[in-house]
């Protein structure tokens, strides 16, 4: 997904200027060269995507892929500004109505036209879904009016365009869920093949912003964290999200540029329903939260910024910083909370907790999550309980988490919205608490009450916010990160093209 102020073909002056700024451009800035159409690139995702349904996306990888295959009404550019994408302009809000005119001539990958009917059906599906319905909690009605989409709102929302820029609202034909192995969208790339460890995409010639520069794009994921770096180091990939070399001190084959996103990807501990009596107890959650050694989470990863967190709102988006006290396990607090929990849950009594064994699910394509899970095991051990780590593929993880068929899992959440209320709402939505998610998203709970509510209920346990650091070949241009730490792949080009 990329921010395109103008179609690619008229970007020439900007490209020249950008070339000059390339060497001193800070992280986050948009790389430019002399773009040329053609070529193929091999890159990586932050793990395996679970699927292509925008409503069901749960991870950074899901969001990245959805952004390449589908379009949303709006998009957030590298400058953080919301720009129209499928929409022709920003919403026209009059009283409780918001009218959105659609860009004409947009086609899906199968050649069919994208119309207001598709948009309305998509938004209606989002509103009705358990996973993403909280986003449109303020929308009372969605209707087609000619080539426009008209939303009836409970109350005016300044962040409506931003909401409609989130990947959950990506438009699908007739609002239907995409087919598992043949998703049809209107995005810059379409899926040509899905394999065991990669997606193969090809440029969509009919994209609304013009076809991407690259003809083909291969996105890979790895079970072993070192294999990705080694692939890049030996010239097998154009970029790596896990370092440029397998071992620190090594040298990659190609000249390399580093780029890092804001630390806005939340890595959290989610709860399932298997030991619902134990894990549903707030005091137990508080005990576990207190027993975690968060300070060490700053060392997880391959050198990208990792900020231990006790709150889902990232530090970079105004969230609280971790105090020195909270960095270490607070065993006195944990024991007190556990004692309160034990008074209500027999299984947590001192003489019984040793028999408790909890399962922590992790995605096998996100190796850092295993290290994170190990820390959770250690925290549970401090409480006297046992835990095991089960690594499964992304599809299995999504299936079991959706069904609640686990005790704990390590999840990723991208902060698409920026606003604290929406981030808290997202946290409650992840936990399946639509009531509080809707209230937070609808503005019924604001200010310090949001933090208090979150701290009291702990729908998820925030672990840390991480940045995404990409090491890419110097001949790969156009890379940038949005505020949700998604890499702007659609504007990538190889220069010079051989």
């Amino acid at each position: 997904m990329g921010a395109r102020l103008t179609p690619r073909r008229s970007r020439g002056p900007l490209v020249v200027a950008a070339l000059c700024a390339l060497a001193i451009a800070p992280a986050g800035a948009r790389g430019e060269g002399r773009p040329a159409y053609g070529g193929a690139a091999v890159g990586t995702l932050l793990g395996e995507p679970a699927g292509f349904d925008p409503i069901a996306l749960r991870s950074h990888a899901d969001a990245a892929v959805v952004g390449l295959l589908f379009d949303t009404l709006y998009e957030v550019g590298p400058d953080g500004v919301v720009h129209p994408q499928l929409a022709a302009a920003l919403p026209e809000v009059q009283a409780d109505k918001a009218r959105i005119a659609l860009r004409p001539g947009v086609r899906f990958h199968d050649g069919t036209a994208l119309t207001a009917v598709d948009v309305v059906a998509t938004l209606a599906r989002v509103r009705a879904s358990a996973a993403a319905g909280w986003l449109l909690v303020s929308v009372e009605d969605i209707a087609v009016d000619g080539d426009d989409v008209v939303l009836t709102l409970e109350a005016p929302r300044k962040d409506l365009a931003r909401i409609l820029a989130t990947p959950w609202t990506a438009v699908t034909p007739r609002g239907l869920a995409p087919k598992k192995d043949a998703p049809i969208g209107s995005g810059p790339f379409r899926l040509s093949a899905r394999k065991r460890d990669r997606l193969e995409l090809e440029a969509w010639e009919g994209h609304l912003a013009g076809r991407p520069y690259l003809d083909r794009l291969t996105l890979r994921w790895f079970v072993s964290g070192d294999d990705e770096a080694q692939l890049y180091e030996t010239g097998g990939a154009h970029w790596s999200l896990r370092g440029a070399t397998r071992f620190a001190g090594g040298s990659p084959k190609h000249a390399t540029t580093e780029l890092e996103s804001p630390a806005t990807v939340l890595v959290y501990l989610g709860f399932g329903q298997v030991h619902a009596d134990v894990l549903g107890n707030r005091d137990f959650r508080a005990a576990l939260d207190a027993a975690l050694a968060r300070g060490g989470l700053a060392t997880v990863g391959r050198g990208e910024r990792a900020v231990p967190a006790i709150d889902p709102v990232p530090l970079d988006l105004g969230g609280p910083s971790l105090s020195a006290i909270a960095a270490d396990p607070r065993l006195d607090v944990a024991e007190a909370a556990l004692a309160r929990a034990a008074s209500k849950v027999r299984a947590l009594a001192r003489d019984r907790i040793a028999a408790l064994t909890l399962e922590i699910l992790v995605a096998d394509s996100r190796p850092d999550d295993r290290e994170v899970a190990a820390r959770v095991v250690r925290a549970l051990d401090k409480l006297g309980a046992r835990a095991t780590i089960t690594a499964v593929d992304a599809t299995e993880l999504a299936r079991r988490v959706t069904a609640g068929n686990c005790d704990l899992y390590v999840g990723h959440a991208t902060a698409e919205l920026g606003a604290s209320a929406m981030i808290y709402a997202q946290a409650f939505a992840i936990a399946g608490d639509r009531g509080h998610a809707d209230k937070l998203a609808g503005g019924a709970i604001t200010g310090v009450r949001m933090k208090e509510l979150f701290a009291a209920r702990l729908p998820i346990i925030p672990l840390y916010h991480r940045a995404v650091r990409v090491h890419h070949r110097a001949d790969l241009r156009g890379a940038w990160f949005d505020s949700s730490a998604r890499l702007g792949v659609a504007d990538l080009f190889v220069w010079p093209l051989k």
Binding site: F247, A248, G296, I389
Partner: protein, 579 residues
């Protein structure tokens, strides 16, 4: 026990005793030698285990010493990064430390490698990344402990899926530079490889047990129940000097028991085999040897029966064969002598019979002659009592002629006694029949055994035997008011004959004449009607039936007792009568 059996038994004993002695001696020698070997093995295993522990301890101490130096590229760089970061490591430094510590740990063959920095913060933990950022005081404390040797500790480490507690031998050292200090803790896990180094299947085993609750950390390969000797225990001490675990080394003498059992089994099998072979061999040898003796016994029995035609078929050239051949010569001589003797005896017997017959005949002839002489004298003298004398002489002559006729008749009966016609006969029935014919006044007491087996006998002749014996007994007690005759039948003690006895309480038969009572014309009833052929006839009949007859004292009645033994099996000859 028969000679053959005794021979075989001695053969078996002769073989068994040396085998048993050999087995016992072998067993004892093996046991002693094995026990010595066992002790040596046990001591060697303990020494090997201690050596291995010492090696492990030295390894971790050496590794800690080598790493914890500011001149070491790994720790030296960490110290430099800390100095530059004001006591903090930046992300690059952290990443570099993480990668290098993994490589160092693998390269040094360690299982634990931890580096702590300021405030005991764990900077890296190559064995468990989840520890990074937490606090650990052990590296600093251990690095500063007296002696600086290795200690044993339980560490919780993250495995592929869950946390596990392992026992490690650890050492720690500190390194300083530029006001910054780091502590390096290294360790090796005590795993199955340690105990496998001394294990020998069936002989040596080892296990690791926790000191606090005795739980097995490394289980033995086999069960330790029934261990003859307690295992050697080696203490693995923690930082406080107290054992955290025990390494136990056990040596088995199972092999000894098994070996001894094997030796015993082999000896038993050998003994059984030897007994079987010796019994077989003994039986064969005994048979060979005693066969000749058996033949000699048969020959002797034949000779005793009077069968002088019998020869012992002896072909062996040994002493037994010589005895056999000598026996045959003797039998030949006896037969020749016997033939002559038989002829002589026969001649003598007929001479005796003729003499006795002549004597018997002469007896009545004398009164006949005297009566005729008297009658001729009286006729010549025309004696007035001629008529009376004629009557008297005629009576005398007629009586004597009757007597002569009886003598001739009895002699004829004796000479022409027919061969018995044997048929299954119940001797008790014979007794009953004979007693029915008996005309004596004295009642005869019967003591007849029930259930006697039948014998092959001529019923008529046996009846005659019994009548003759009853007549003799009646004659013996004639004139006695309390005369008593008892007839007894029973099965013979040998089990192969039936016994018929007639006893009386008469005067008995003097021992000096008992051997002559069966001689023809021998009688103690001179002038009392006895011809002297009765018992001879009885003797002949009994002999023709293969039986035997003897005269003894009637111990219960005080008179004579005549016992007739008759064989049960047809054709069986009882030993010759004691005549």
């Amino acid at each position: 026990m028969r000679l053959r059996g005794r021979f075989t038994l001695w053969f078996a004993l002769a073989a068994l005793v040396p085998i048993a002695v050999a087995a016992l001696v072998t067993r004892e020698v093996v046991a002693r030698s094995f026990r010595n070997d066992y002790e040596r093995t046990r001591s060697a295993a303990e020494a090997a285990m201690r050596h291995e522990l010492t090696r492990l301890e030295a390894q971790v101490v050496t590794a800690a010493q080598a790493l914890a130096s500011k001149n070491h590229p790994f720790i030296g760089t960490v110290l430099t990064d800390l100095i530059n970061g004001g006591g903090q490591l930046d992300a690059k430094g952290q990443l570099r430390l993480r990668d290098w510590s993994s490589q160092e740990m693998s390269g040094l063959g360690l299982n634990v490698l931890m580096v702590t920095g300021p405030n005991d913060r764990i900077l890296s933990a190559a064995h468990d990344r989840g520890l990074v950022g937490e606090r650990a005081v052990e590296p600093r404390q251990l690095a500063r402990s007296d002696g600086g040797g290795a200690v044993y500790r339980f560490e919780k480490v993250m495995g592929p899926r869950t946390m596990a507690t392992i026992l490690v031998v650890e050492a720690a050292r500190s390194a300083k530079d530029g006001g910054q200090e780091v502590h390096v803790l290294v360790g090796r896990q005590l795993d199955a490889d340690l105990v496998d180094s001394v294990r020998r299947p069936g002989q040596i085993d080892a296990r690791l047990v926790a000191a606090d609750d005795g739980r097995e950390l490394i289980a033995p390969r086999a069960s330790w129940t029934g261990l003859g000797t307690p295992p050697v225990r080696i203490a693995l001490t923690g930082p406080d000097g107290k054992p955290v675990a025990w390494l136990e080394v056990a040596a088995w003498d199972r092999n000894l028991s098994a070996l001894l059992d094997q030796v015993t089994l082999v000896a038993a099998v050998m003994a059984a085999g030897a007994i079987f072979l010796t019994i077989l061999l003994g039986a064969m040898v005994a048979r060979r040897i005693t066969r000749g003796l058996d033949l000699l016994v048969v020959g002797a029995q034949a000779a005793a029966r009077g069968d002088l035609e019998h020869r012992v078929p002896m072909t062996s050239k040994d002493e037994v064969g010589e005895v056999g051949r000598a026996f045959n010569l003797m039998m030949e001589d006896l037969r020749s002598a016997g033939d002559r003797l038989v002829i002589a005896e026969r001649i003598a017997a007929w001479q005796e019979i003729a003499r006795r017959l002549a004597h018997e005949i002469k007896n009545p002839l004398t009164p006949i002659q005297m009566a005729m002489d008297t009658l001729r004298k009286v006729w010549r003298k025309q004696h007035p009592s001629f008529g009376e004398i004629l009557e008297e002489s005629t009576t005398t002559v007629l009586e004597e002629v009757e007597r002569l006729k009886r003598i001739v008749s009895e002699f004829s009966d004796f000479a022409r006694l027919p061969k018995p016609a044997p048929m299954p006969t119940d001797i008790n029935e014979v007794v009953a029949g004979a007693l029915a014919l008996y005309e004596g006044a004295t009642p005869v007491e019967r003591r007849l055994a029930d259930g006697l087996p039948t014998i092959e006998a001529d019923k008529g002749q046996m009846t005659q035997v019994l009548l003759n014996l009853l007549e003799n007994a009646r004659d013996a007690i004639s004139g006695k008011e309390d005369g008593k005759i008892v007839v007894t039948t029973r099965k013979g003690d040998a089990g192969d004959r039936v016994e018929l006895a007639v006893e009386d309480n008469g005067p008995g038969v003097a021992s000096d004449i008992r051997d002559r009572v069966f001689t023809p014309y021998f009688t103690t009833k001179q002038g009392k009607g006895g011809t002297g052929l009765g018992l001879a006839i009885v003797h002949r009949i009994v002999g023709d039936h293969g039986g035997r007859i003897m005269v003894t004292e009637a111990t219960s009645l005080g008179g004579a007792r005549v016992v007739v033994e008759l064989p049960l099996r047809p054709g069986q000859l009882l030993l010759a009568s004691r005549v």
